[in-house]
Every structure is written in C-alpha cells, then in structure tokens.
C-alpha cells in the first residue's frame, strides 16, 4: 500500500510528479490516447477551477460574518467587564449594610422576644383574672359547654400556683362559681321536662368537673328512670288505642329512649374510664351492675305492659303483625350483655299466640252452644206442630255454620303456622349454610394436604342437623313420613350399613380418562326433577329437615363452584360429601335429593379441580367411619 501512496504517477496523490507522469504517458500510450488524455485533463482542470471559485464565493460571506461577530464580541466583553466590576462593588456594599443592620438590631431582638413572651404570659394571666367573670357570663348565657371547657383549661395552672395569694383568690372565686354551675346543672337534672339527650350532656359536664362518677351514675339512672316511667304511663294510658299505634309508640318512644340511655351511659361511665385510669378499678363493674339492674327493671315493666296489651286482640292478622314488629325491635336491641330479653319477648309472643288460640276455641264453643239453644228452641216449637221431616233440616242448620266457623279459624291458623314453619326452615338452613360457606371460602384449597379426616365443619353440620331433628321431633312425630328409626344409635348403624349397598356416587367410579365428566351429571339431570330450594314445607319432620338440608347443600354447591381446587382439595371435598351422605340421608323424606345434591357438589369440585384425581372409594369409607 505504501508504494501506492508514494506513487508519483497518481494524479490525485501527494507525491505526484508531473514530469515523470508525462514521460510515462509518452512512453506507454498512442498519440490518440495522449490527445484524449490531454483534453480530459484540461476538462478536469477547468471543473476543479470553477469548483474552487464557487467554494470561495460561498464561504466568503461566512468569513465576513465570523469576523464581524468576533469584533462585536470584543466590544461587548469590555462592556460586560465594567458591569461585573460594578456588581462586585454593589455586593460589597450590601454585605456591609446587612452587617451593620444586624449588629444594630442585635440588642433589640432579645428584647422583642422577651416582650412577646411577657405578652403571652400576660394574656394567660388576663384569662385567669377574667375567668370568674367569664364563667359567670357563660352561665348566664347558659353556655355551659364553653364554661366547663374554660375551667378545665385553667384548672391545672390554678392548682400549680395555688400557694400564691392572688391566685388563691381567683381559684376561690372560680370554685364558688363552679359550685353554682354544678348546682345549676343538677337543678336542670331534676327538671322533669329535660330530654334524655340533655341529661346525658349535663352528666358529661359534671363528670368533666371531676364530680364523683359513682354517685353521678346512680343519679343519672334514677332520673332517666323517672322519664321512662312517665313514658310507660303514657303507654299504659294508650292501651285503648289502636294496637299498631301502641306498638309504634312503644318501640319508637320507650325502647329507643332506653337504647339512647344505655348508649350514653356506656360512653360516659364505662368506656371512658378505660381511658383515664385515675378511678377505682371496681367502679366499672359497679357501674355495669347498676346499669344492668336498671335495664332489667325497666324492661320488666315494659314487658308487663306489652303482655297485658296483646292479650285481648281479636284480629289474628293484626296481632301477628304487631308481634312481629315487637320481636324484630327486641332482636335489633343489644343493650345488655347478660340478660336475654329476646327470650322473654318470645315468651310473650308465644303466650299471646296461645291466648289467641284459646280465644278462638272459646268463640267456637260459645257459637256451638248458641246454635244448640236455637235448635232446641226450634225443636220445642216444631214439636208442637209434630212434623218429623224437618229433623234433617235442623241438623243441617246445626252443623253447617259450625263447620264454616271452624274452617275459617283453621284457615287462619294454618296460614300463620305455614309461614312460621317456612321461616324456621329458612333460618336454620341459613345457619348451617353460613357455617359451610365460611368453611369453603376461608380455606386455601390449592395448598391443602392429603385428607386424613373429615373436616370438623362437616361434623358440626351433622351435629346441628341432629339437634334440629330432635327439636322438631318434639313437635312432630317421625312416623308419619318415614320408616321407623327408634333410637339414635340404631339409626347410625343402620344408615351406614344401608348406605354401603345403596349409595355409590357417580363420581366415585369416575376416572378422568374414561368418562366425559359432564356427561354423567347431564344424564342424571335429565332424569331428575328440578329441586326447589326455598320451597314451602309440609307439617312433618322429614319435610322440615329436607328443607333445611336442601338449603345447606345448595349453598355448599354454589360456594364450591367459586373456588379452585388442587388434587387434595378435591379429595377433601370427596371425603366430606361422603361423610354427609352417610349421616344426612336418614333425616330426609327422599334421599335421592341428598344424593343428587352431593353428586352435584362433587361434580362441580371435579370441574373446578386442576388435577382431578379422586380417592379410592374404600379409603374414603375408612376415613369416614373413623371420623
């Protein structure tokens, strides 16, 4: 390459030697070529020349402007230097001035700080001196809240400086005024027409003024009790009015007031003392005792009045509505931790119901005897006319109205009973389903271990259902729906032995590779009837329990469908459903319902499983029997 670079024959190179090039051309080329070459070189030279010229022209302007700029910069810089000098000078003078100012102000600053602190102190003192007057003004304005606030604010300071004579005076004044305030508050306390809310407020103030809480709470209770008795009196007087109105008045007036009292009592005496512990420990217990006694006595009075009022109501529908309201209100109230008023309330409701039945019975009897008398009279008159053909007519006259009457009453009662029973089933079903729902929702089904036992929830479910069963058995015999199941123990063995032959879930034999999973359940669905979940039940034990179990299992099903299961999660469900199968089928009238629902649950769990492998049925049997 170096040769090439130093090549003297390269016309564009650095070491070009025109003579040698020329010689070379003369030697190597023909005349024609030389001529051509010459014209080419001339042409090239000319283009280069013109190129150079344009370049120079083009850049000429730029050169000129560059020179201009440089010249201008020179002048500007000179100017700038001047300004910079000026700036530095100014800065110097500013610094000196500021130093001067700060040095002159140094002394006064401390003075100002001192003055302002004195000012605040004076302000505080002024507040103290004015306090008695202020308190008086406030009292006259009946703005007790502000008065109490001011006093509490100043109290600490007063206590601290109480050895100084001037402060002593103020303190004494304040205390006097406060005594007055307290007495005024108490007076208001005693006034009959103050509302409970105002009462509570007053007590609050007194408490803030460090009155003994012990006596205050007793006083509070006695006064509120007075108010409540007044309301009870009103209620008593209202007894003649419409019963619905009465009940509304009772719940909105008496009960809500009682709730208000209890709530404010709790706020004032019980909860507050947890915050500041300067009171005796057992006060809380004492206060609570007072409260409980108070509630119990008042509720007792209330119950007395209510039970008296509901005794004589003729219209069943109206009575039911009133009792329903009464019960709802009581249930919503959770004022007392120990006493269960709902139970007393229920007793009243039950008693009223009984009374109602007795009334109906009484009416019927009366009606019967009246008709009998009438018949006898007619007979007596007819006998004289001596015509025996009228006997059947008389009989009809005797029987038909009675039947009508009985029918009417029974219809009435039957409807109420049906509603009651349906509601019972819904409530019990809900209780069991809540348990099942929580158990499915809270568990992490993806990371669960291989099932060894039945989950405790399932045992609870079976226990609960058994408890419900015995509860219902007190009302309905079991022999009107089912085969005999005399004692608990025999039932259990019976059910296990039967179920082993009877029940083999569709899913027990299922292996994912063999059967299309949905096919089985779909075929099953085709041949089974639609199951109504919240349906009306009949008056026998099996039907009631079927209702409850249906609701529970359907909840189980819906919850399972909302989760995702691992292999072991699925197997746990398999174990659980098998366990339920073993124990629940005996309670129901149609065990296919239980089969079907449990199959659906297991089927849904299979669908919702990432790796659907079921357990050996024999293992499931063993686990369930061990549980």
């Amino acid at each position: 390459m170096a040769e090439n670079v130093n090549n003297p024959y390269d016309i564009n190179g650095q070491y070009f030697n025109s003579d040698m090039y020329f010689q070379k051309l003369l030697k190597e080329c023909t005349l024609k070529q030389i001529m051509d070459h010459e014209s080419e070189i001339i042409k090239n030279t000319q283009t280069l020349h013109s190129d150079m010229q344009t370049l120079v022209y083009e850049n000429y302007n730029k050169f000129i402007s560059a020179t201009d700029t440089i010249r201008k910069m020179k002048a500007d810089f000179k100017e700038m230097e001047d300004s910079m000098d000026l700036l530095a000078k100014n800065m110097d003078s500013i610094t000196s001035f500021s130093e001067q100012i700060s040095s002159t102000l140094h002394g006064t600053r401390q003075q100002i700080a001192k003055l302002s602190s004195v000012h605040t102190l004076l302000k505080k003192l002024q507040f103290l001196f004015k306090l008695p007057g202020n308190l008086k003004d406030r009292m006259n304005e009946e703005n007790y809240e502000q008065a109490v606030k001011d006093y509490v604010h100043a109290q600490r300071v007063l206590n601290q400086y109480s050895n100084m004579p001037s402060f002593q005076g103020i303190q004494r004044d304040c205390e006097d005024i406060l005594e007055e305030l307290k007495s005024k508050l108490r007076l208001q306390f005693h006034k009959r027409d103050t509302s409970i809310k105002a009462l509570a407020e007053n007590v609050e103030f007194l408490l803030q003024l460090k009155e003994p809480a012990d006596s205050l709470c007793i006083e509070f209770l006695t006064h509120t009790e007075g108010r409540l008795t007044e309301q009870l009196e009103i209620l008593k007087n209202m007894c003649e009015n419409d019963i619905i109105e009465f009940m509304d008045m009772a719940s909105s007036g008496f009960l809500s007031n009682l709730c208000l009292i209890v709530a404010s009592y709790n706020d004032m005496f019980i909860n507050r003392l947890l915050k500041d512990n300067d009171l005796v420990d057992d006060f809380e217990i004492k206060a609570e005792n007072h409260l409980n006694k108070f509630i119990v006595s008042n509720m007792k009075k209330y119950f007395d009045i209510v039970s008296k009022r509901v005794e004589d109501v003729s219209d069943t529908a109206l009575l039911v509505r009133v009792l329903d309201r009464f019960h709802h209100k009581l249930q919503a109230m959770k004022i007392c931790k120990e006493k269960n008023f709902a139970k007393i309330g229920t007793d009243i409701v039950v008693n009223a119901g009984r009374k109602q039945c007795r009334n109906h019975l009484h009416n019927l009897k009366q009606h019967l005897s009246e008709t009998l008398v009438k018949v006898r009279q007619t007979l007596a008159t007819k006998l004289t006319q001596n015509s025996d053909g009228n006997l059947t007519e008389l009989q009809a006259m005797l029987i038909i109205p009675i039947i009508e009457k009985v029918k009417g009453v029974l219809q009435d009662l039957l409807e109420a009973a049906q509603n009651l029973l349906n509601h019972y089933v819904r409530i019990q079903g809900l209780a069991v389903s809540q348990m099942l729902r929580k158990s499915v929702e809270t568990r992490d089904w993806l990371h669960t271990i291989e099932p060894r036992t039945v989950r405790a929830v399932m045992k609870r479910v079976v226990e609960d259902v058994t408890a419900i069963d015995s509860q219902v058995a007190a009302l309905y015999d079991d022999n009107d729906g089912q085969i005999d199941r005399s004692s608990d123990s025999s039932r259990k063995t019976h059910s296990i032995s039967v179920s082993k032959h009877h029940y083999r879930s569709n899913w027990s034999s299922y292996t994912p590779s063999h059967i299309d999973s949905s096919l089985v359940s779909n075929i099953h669905k085709l041949f089974s009837e639609r199951i109504e979940i919240f349906s009306s039940v009949q008056f026998n034990k099996a039907s009631i329990l079927t209702g409850i179990i249906k609701i529970s299992l359907k909840t189980f099903l819906e919850c399972v469908r909302l989760r995702t299961f691992s292999k072991y999660g699925l197997q746990q469900i398999q174990v659980d459903t098998h366990y339920l199968q073993l124990y629940l089928w005996g309670f129901v009238s149609d065990e296919n319902v239980v089969h079907f629902l449990l199959d659906e649950i297991l089927g849904s769990a299979v669908h919702r499983c990432l790796e659907p492998v079921l357990m050996e049925p024999s293992v499931v049997d063993i686990i369930c029997e061990r549980g």
């Binding site: 809900l430 669905k525 639609r530 979940i533 919240f534 469908r561 995702t564 919702r608 990432l610």
Partner: protein, 377 residues
C-alpha cells in the same frame, strides 16, 4: 323474527361471563367467556342473532391465558372488550388478572378458532389478589374501574399503558372485600358503586377517601349484583342471596322502595332494560330467569302517549289513554338446567335478552309480544 320461541346455543365448557356487545346497535350480538381449568382451552364466543330467521351465527376466539370470570364489552368500540381471568402461573399459583382485547377483523363467520390481539394488561397486583371485575365507564371507553379486594381503582387508557388515576379503599373491621362494582351513569358518571357483604356504597372519584353514600344491610345476606335505572336518577336495584330483588332511591337509604321475592334460591344478576326501564330481568341459581314489569319505578310517564313513538300509535290516539301497567311477573323462563349466573339485555334490540347458565347454555329470549304492545301502545 315473528315467533317468540327461545333460541338456544350450547357451549362445551362451563360459563359465567356474558356481555352484550354494547357498542353495536344494529345487530344483536353477545360475547361469552368460558371457564375451563384446562387453561389453554378457554374461549370467547361471539354470538350473533339473525332477527329475520332466528338463526345464530357464531365465531370462536382463543383466550388461552386462563378461565374467564368477568367480561365487559367497550361502550364505544365494538371490537374491544375486557376480561378478568384466572391465570395459572408456572409455579402453580392461581392469580386473577385483567386484560384488554381486540377482535381481529372478521369478514365471514368461520368454524376456525381465531386469535385475539391483546391490547394491554391491567396490572392490579399492587392493589390485592382478588380481582372481581373491571367495569367500563358508561360512555367513555378510555376509563375503567377495577374492583380488587377492598380497593377500587380508576384507570386511564388514553395512553399506551393503562395508568392509575384515582384509587379508593374501604377500611373497616374484619377485612372487608368488595364483591362487585358498577358505575353510576348519572351526574356525569363521577360515582362508582361497590358491594361488599350486604352493604352498598357509593363513592365519588373527586373525593374517594370516604363513601359518598351507603345503604347498609340492604339485604339480609350477600348482595350479588346491582343495576342502575339508566333513565331515572337515583334509582337502583339490587339482588342477593336472600332471594330478594330490591329497588332503592339512594336519597332514602333506609327503606327499599320495593322488594320482591320470586326465585327459590340466590339471585345472581339483575338488569334493568335501558330503553323501557319497567322491564327488569333477574337470574338465579334455581336455574330460572324471571322477567318483571315494574312500572312503579319506571321513568316512562303514564296516561299519555310518548310523542316520539308515534309510528306505533293508532290513528285515533287522543282517545287511548295509556293505562298504568301493574307491577308483576311477565314471564318465567325455565330453559336452563343449571344455575344461571348471567343475564343481559341486548344493546341493539330492546326486546331481546340472553341468559347464560353454568353448564354452558346460552338462551336468547324475547319479551312476549303482548307486553311489548302494552308498553308501546
């Protein structure tokens, strides 16, 4: 289509998610999402009803990321929708995720399974694990709200990546969790309404720290769904596990205006018709769909004709005063054999609705003609 017979379409997977193609107002179209734990098999089905012949045309798309729990179509763009899906990660952990999808252009319905374009992921992981739903703003397709655990988060989709605008949290005892949520279409759609346990809460995005209003203990058990009356401010409906559907005026949160129980199990879904808001649909796990006519909460005036619908009116219209329809059942639809978890009105035809049961059966029904004429005439 002149007969009122139901049209049934069966899918081979379990299904929960159903949405009308909201932005499409000419053709009756619904979207269905499947739930299969064989995650790669999940699909989106686009179902179109030919109103002349009553035939269905369908197109299946692949949704291989996971099983779909919730599906919502964009309010303005027909080919865009959002899914919430359960995704199985490589470590074997199930996770709820959200994503925005776009249909490829379809000229012809085919039997092939087509691929979807994923426009964006909506990463709700910072707000919790339990993504319940992602709801589109009623009119603005750039705004969505996701409901996660006890948070609701407003996202802006105007840029390429979804961005969080506002989020709100329900903080109270016992770790509350939202179960569902919906926009309030009124008042400039500044409010979002959430459900948890048996409470309804309304939140304003302009001050999302506290609930703007609430209906506490609206039902005796869990509330499953709610819907607003699109034509009447303040009116909303709820339904829940106690089997009731209730209508509320949110200015009066203590008492429902109306409550009814017709189903014999939990009510999972409630939808008020957007055009004729006396028509209300509910679906339940007693495998029924019930259509009601609740004229007492409707925005339509009684006693005189709606002048804009004169094309249906008789010639001697001044004599035919419109009688107020009684509140009551219009129909029970019993074509399903499993729990019905979703029901939707069509966005194109006010008289058509679809219901979807867990066993993968989609049923398209129409309001009976008798009631249709009663409402129109």
């Amino acid at each position: 289509m002149e007969n009122d017979n139901p049209v049934i379409y069966g899918l081979e997977f379990q299904t929960r998610a159903l949405s009308a193609q909201t932005a499409e107002t000419d053709v009756v179209r619904f979207l269905i999402g499947t739930q299969s734990l064989n995650f790669n098999n999940n699909q989106i089905h686009l179902v179109e009803l030919n109103e002349e012949t009553g035939n269905l045309k369908t197109q299946v798309f692949q949704h291989s990321l996971g099983e779909i729990w919730s599906l919502q179509a964009s309010p303005t763009e027909p080919d865009i929708f959002i899914t919430c899906y359960n995704h199985l990660s490589e470590e074997g952990i199930c996770q709820m995720k959200g994503a925005i999808w776009k249909f490829p252009e379809i000229k012809e319905y085919t039997n092939d399974i087509l691929q979807l374009d994923k426009l964006a992921d909506i990463d709700t992981a910072p707000y919790g694990t339990d993504l319940k739903t992602i709801a589109y703003h009623p009119t603005d397709c750039k705004k969505i709200v996701s409901v996660v655990d006890n948070n609701f988060v407003l996202w802006d989709l105007a840029n390429k990546e979804p961005q969080v605008v506002v989020s709100g949290t329900l903080a109270s005892k016992g770790q509350p969790r939202f179960t569902n949520g919906k926009w309030n279409p009124h008042n400039g759609a500044n409010q979002f309404v959430t459900l948890n346990e048996n409470n309804v809460r309304g939140w304003d995005f302009r001050s999302p720290t506290d609930a703007a209003w609430s209906i506490l203990s609206a039902h005796s058990q869990i509330i499953r769904d709610l819907d607003f009356n699109a034509n009447r401010q303040y009116f909303l409906s709820t339904c829940g596990d106690d089997g009731y559907m209730k209508f509320w005026d949110i200015r009066l949160p203590t008492e429902p205006i109306l409550s009814r129980m017709e189903h014999s199990h939990w009510v999972w879904n409630i939808r008020i018709n957007r055009f004729h808001d006396q028509l209300v649909l509910t679906s339940s796990s007693d495998s029924r769909v019930i259509l009601y006519s609740i004229a007492s909460i409707s925005s339509e005036p009684f006693g005189h004709m709606v002048s804009t619908e004169d094309e249906f009116a008789f010639q001697n219209d001044e004599s035919c005063g419109k009688k107020k329809l009684e509140d009551g059942l219009v129909g029970r639809y019993e074509e399903h054999e499993d729990s019905v978890y979703a029901v939707e009105w069509s966005s194109a035809d006010p008289w058509t609705f679809a219901s979807l049961s867990y066993d993968g059966r989609l049923v398209l029904n129409k309001v009976p003609r008798k009631y249709k004429y009663q409402i129109l005439l």
